[in-house]
Amino acid sequence: MSCGGMWCRGELCRVGLRVKLPCLLGSWFMVLICCFQVNTLSKQLSSEFTDIMNEIWANEAVKSAVLISSKPGSFIAGADLDMIEACKTSQEVAQLSQEGQKMLEKIEQSPKPVVAAISGSCLGGGLELAIACHYRIATKEKKTVLATPEVLLGLLPGAGGTQRLPKMVGLPAAFDIMLTGRNIRADRAKKMGLVDQLVDPLGPGVKSPEARTIEYLEEVAIDFARGLANRTVSAKRSKGLMQKLTDYAMAVPFVRQQVYKTVENKVRKQTKGLYPAPLKIIETVKAGLDQGHDAGYLAESQNFGQLAVTKESKALLGLYRGQVYCKKNKFGTPQQEVKTLAVLGAGLMGAGIAQVSVDKGLKTILKDTAQQGLDRGQQQVFKGLNSKVKKKSLTSFERDSILSNLTGQLDYKGFEKADMVIEAVFEDINIKHKVLKEVEAVIPAHCVFASNTSALPISQIAAVSKRPEKVIGMHYFSPVDRMQLLEIITTDKTSQDTAASAVAVGLKQGKIVIVVKDGPGFYTTRCLGPMLAEVVRVLQEGTDPKKIDAISTAFGFPVGAATLIDEVGVDVATHVAEDLGKAFGERFGGGSIELFKLMVEKGFLGRKAGKGFYIYQEGVKNRSVNSGMDEILARFKLPAKPEVCTDEDIQMRLVTRFVNEAAMCLQEGILSSPVEGDIGAVFGLGFPPCLGGPFRYVDSYGAKQLVDKLRKYEAVYGSQFTPCQLLLDYANNPSKKFHQ
């Protein structure tokens, strides 16, 4: 592309960029429209883009430019991750970052105004591109979100973001954006000063709503581009009083230092020093503000390079890709879409399942056996949705309209129209059998029966079914509206279509779905079993609950191990431990189950009873250790073995048993892939995300080293630590990795 001559021919298409040319406004007044046709920033797009920028400056007729995307649903959703992963060294990545910085700097310094027209996701590098422009216009739609999710991938915004954001939205807001990576909706972005104008989405008109909205966005952007060029519009934002004050305060070095310190302390406390990215972000911002432009940009590219090669970043990236993998239905499209869902049992789980279903437009029947229980469940759904109204992510009208999808009832009326029934009744095989038989008498032939259980084998539940091919397990995690994982369990008899249907419903409910084979404890509960048994042993050896919590969270678990038992419920844990103990024998031993039983006897059931290892009181944040446990722990006290009782050893005892069991699930075919194993462990059980899941952890820690640890503990405690064959295979062959 050389001069203006070519432009007169109209549209010019390159691989990643379409340039709509003469948008001639008056005589020789051109606004150039660059339209992205891809939604990731790649090397190729950058170079095409740089060429076009050069031409914008060279051509006198062009007075301003508009950047817009032709991909529906996204502006630019970030940098091309493959491009970063393909780099071998941190220098290479730093180089990439520098190229990005240069390209965006070029836009920023352009004498001709550049307007970013944003519809859909504007993430990472996309946001950095947008804030390098002189003006930003965004559509006020739910799909339009702005964010710098780099931190969630263990990275930092590496194309000038760390330098521009603080100047744009102020230091505190910039830290908030970059350190949390959270999504910012367009209206919020406008308030923060991240975008300059909003465009409301349009309804149907001369075109479909989506197409016309984009076109309108472009028209409005052209207007502003023209206005900026002939100076009828100013790109300077009028800052509010609060922001002026904040900016003023932040200009004082002392205040700035205090902010750095506060933020840094908060980050250290939250990350336990396990995640390097947030600290690097603070460091980079600091460099720019305290040492000037060049130092800031240099620090950004260097730190970006360093972060990209950390194992934390690779682990988080693995989880990101795993999530994408688990958001697809590998069983294909089910023959019959589920439109009406019935949930049995309006307890915590049942109501939670109902909530995530109605708000996706599924007609949902919530059935319980008692009015009181049903009321509680319906109130839970209302409360869950209403909290969204309070947070303004939903209007009260939308809440009411969503709730109209929910029918609460005590009988089986309307079940003849149900496409799927999910039972979440009490975890007792006899009750499950009773419900299954009752339901099968009233549902249509195509209806899927799903059981929400954390440990009862699905084939055992299906044993009384007239149509076992329609029976499947759907294991949700509590609280359902917040936990992202859904573990789906298929038996030998479950049909492909039933599986497809269950996965489709799970995905619709917004879940990350893993599909595993049936067996005692399936995958997640089974992995947790040995770890919790080890926790009990550690407790018996005299480590107090607070200490156990501290060392497990220091390893990266979001919830301490003792607290976890309280959360799950001691009675449930006892139940599961007994069942799994029967199924797997010695391997699930370790701590004494009698300890749990005594706790149950004393009413120390965990959080739900207000007492477990800790005392729980409404409104009291710092809970204290339950002194009633002293006597119980004393009764079951075991001698501690000093050779395996350092903090690190305790951590490793917990984790190696977890990992060994996960590997065994893969070995036995319960799991079909390490990816699902990692995703299930992290999103369902809180396995440290910085380690990327048990299989990623084996890869990074080294299978051999891990087996060595297991052998060490095996020597002390016996077969509970015997490494499984799969781990041994990987240990014997250093080139073998779960994730290539």
Partner: protein, 465 residues
């Protein structure tokens, strides 16, 4: 110029537009004048229902001469005007239906209060209906239903709106405290309740800022609608100017026959609508967008303004009218109410209702001699015209094989419209019907079609012979 009144309008526009926004209902009705040449729409077994006469008091910009009155005063004036004009014996009137949008709480059944004050018999029952901007259309079709069902022979229908005064309430917290206070028995209880009052309790609650379901104001919705149909600012200003120019011409030419003078207590007799102000494109072009700032296209000048006014019509079965020696002004032949998505198609009612009512009556666009559409916003009218003229829209959103076609402008709102004459929400429907009847008579036409959109939906009428 575009003057004070517009400034007034803009000053309060943020909340005042609410009822305009929102209705899901649209109405179309078919009116016909004398069954001459073309086909007759008489249905066997169904009574013919006629409009004997209709009047309205002048429509005034709110805050002007009617500012100190109450809604029922306006309604009373319209009803009295109707009695005077028709000399109908009051005992003949079987029923009165009145429409209103923003209710004065003291006169919640404004139909009854106004009828009693206007000298109607206290034996004549009356009720009030509400359906946003088509409330008086609803009043008329309610009357039609009563006559068709054989319940009544003579019904008075109308509508009133007084935007100069709207109910502003105490906050919910304050109301709750005050109500509880009523029940408090001891001084101690009363004091303890009073001690709970905080400054924020005193914040008043204005009438809803927006459509309840979408929280969007009508003007904002109109701006989006105009954008969806790529209606430019220029087109809207041109259309608004046309409306004012035509209204002025009609007013000067004495064509607005439905207007009756109103002697306002303490003030001079009002004889003319006061919102008609033909301006220039240049002056209109200077206005800033009123809703979508700073780049929207809907301004104070191309929107209807806040108006006070009232109207009334006398409906009878044809048989009764002829027996009483009246010459009907029009026959109400058919009507249809439709409703659509309150968010994106709020103001598109006329597009949906027009083909429906035509098909129902067995007519085509070509049969219609007079079109009267309610002009909430110039952008909304132009969007509707574009939608009616779009095959794409007809196929994708209306489930039709092809477009119905836009009405020819030379037959369309030729005596001005809500943009220029004003739009007292609930009084507009009767004005549309009477304008159509008078216009048909003047032009020697046979069929007229009335369409209006309202928060929530849209009805249409056809006037026929």
């Amino acid at each position: 110029g575009l003057p004070r009144s517009y400034r007034v309008f803009r000053g309060i526009s943020s909340w005042s537009f609410f009822k305009l926004a929102g209705s899901l209902v649209n109405i179309t009705s078919l009116l016909a004048v004398q069954p001459k040449s073309k086909k007759t729409l008489t249905k066997s077994g169904v009574k013919n229902i006629v409009v004997v006469e209709g009047v309205r008091i002048p429509f005034l910009q709110s805050g002007t001469s009617y500012a100190d009155l109450m809604p029922h005063d306006l309604a009373r004036a319209a009803l009295q005007g109707l009695l005077n004009r028709t000399s109908v014996p009051r005992e003949v009137v079987d029923y009165i239906v009145y429409g209103t949008v923003i209710q004065e709480v003291k006169t919640s059944n404004v139909a009854r209060e106004a009828a009693l004050g206007a000298g109607f018999s206290d034996k004549t029952p009356a009720h009030t209906v509400t359906m946003a901007c088509i409330s008086s259309n609803q009043a008329m079709t309610t009357g039609v239903g009563m006559i068709a069902a054989g319940q009544c022979d003579v019904v008075v229908a109308g509508g009133v709106e007084l935007m100069s005064d709207v109910p502003i309430r105490h906050s919910r917290k304050m109301r709750k405290t005050m109500l509880t206070l009523n029940r408090a028995k001891t001084l101690g209880q009363k004091l303890s309740l009073l001690s709970k009052i905080r400054p924020d309790y005193f914040a008043p609650e204005l009438p809803a800022v927006a459509e309840f379901s979408t929280s969007e104001t009508m003007g904002h919705s109109a701006d989006r609608l105009a954008a969806a149909f790529a209606v430019s600012r220029l087109e809207q200003d041109e259309y608004a100017l046309r409306s004012h120019t035509l209204a002025k011409k009609a007013q000067d030419g004495g064509l607005l026959l439905d207007v009756v003078p109103f002697k306002v207590p303490g003030k001079d007799t009002v004889t003319k609508d006061n919102g008609i102000r033909p301006s220039s494109m240049e002056q209109m072009g200077k206005l800033k967008p009123a809703f979508v700032k700073p780049y929207g296209t809907v301004t104070a000048a191309n929107s209807s303004f806040l108006t006070d006014g009232a109207s009334a019509v006398l409906l009878m079965s044809e048989e009764k009218a002829l027996a009483m020696g009246y010459k009907p002004k029009a026959y109400l032949r058919d009507f249809v109410y439709v409703s659509q998505d309150p968010k994106d198609q709020l103001l598109l009612g006329p597009t949906y209702a027009t083909p429906k009512v035509l098909e129902k009556a067995g007519l085509t666009m070509a049969d219609i001699d007079v079109f009267e559409f309610h002009e909430a916003f110039a952008g909304q009218i132009l969007a509707n015209l574009k939608a009616m003229d779009s095959d794409w829209f007809a196929q994708n959103y209306m489930g039709r094989k092809s477009k119905v076609g836009a009405p020819p402008l030379e037959k369309f709102n030729t005596w001005g419209g809500s943009l220029s004459l004003g739009h007292p929400f609930a009084a507009t429907g009767c004005r549309l019907v009477m304008t159509t009847a008078h216009s048909l008579k003047k032009e020697g036409g046979q069929y007229g079609l009335v369409a209006a959109c309202a928060a929530g939906g849209l009805p249409k009428c056809v006037l026929g012979p």
